[in-house]
Subunit: 118 residues, 2 copies
């Protein structure tokens, strides 16, 4: 549990930056060299490399250097982990709404039968 | 777009902390007073209040003070926004895999018809 928490800390932290999300958005459409990832970003190459290392530490991106070209790819399992955590919250919240709905229906029926009886 | 980005920055930042996720986990099961949220957390009440203010700023939690009791509730739309962003990435990634699958199938068929011909 503690381990998973540390993973989620790193994951959500990595996603909390617009440049890092832009990189993840680009890589979701396919692998890309660092130069291509850097092109649309309003920052220096060392800054892009720093963002990439945060994404790699979070397990969201992997990269491979061949010669002078470093190519990056998305690691979809990491994104799933974040999605699953949010999804689990939504399920709990919807379950609660369903139970609340059933309760309100029961209240309404009781009130109606009370009205009919009185 | 810039606005939405700022929202997502705050959202993912808010979720990047285990105490804040514990609060969101608890509130997904229903509203709770601050005292109940604080009980399982290994920190002072002022620290809990600080985490709550990060969650409120991100739009994930709303709170209402009646007398001396502050009660908190989840704001599910904010969680949906984070979920939608991740979901959109997964769809792009899966589309790419589908296209890659079709391409590989075509390559295989061409190779097989080439073998049959030769």
């Amino acid at each position: 549990m503690l381990n998973q928490r540390t993973d989620l800390d790193r994951l959500f932290h990595a996603l909390a930056d617009p440049a890092r999300r832009a990189i993840v958005e680009r890589l979701s459409r396919g692998p890309a060299p660092v130069s291509e990832l850097a092109r649309p970003l309003p920052m220096s190459l060392p800054s892009v490399m720093q963002h990439l290392s945060v994404l790699e530490a979070a397990g969201l991106v992997r990269s491979l250097k061949v010669g002078r070209v470093r190519t990056c790819a998305i690691e979809p399992q990491a994104l799933s982990q974040a999605e699953q955590w949010i999804n689990a919250r939504r399920i709990e919240w919807e379950d609660r709404l369903d139970r609340l709905g059933v309760y309100l229906e029961e209240m309404k029926r009781e009130e109606e039968s009370g009205d009919a009886g009185g």
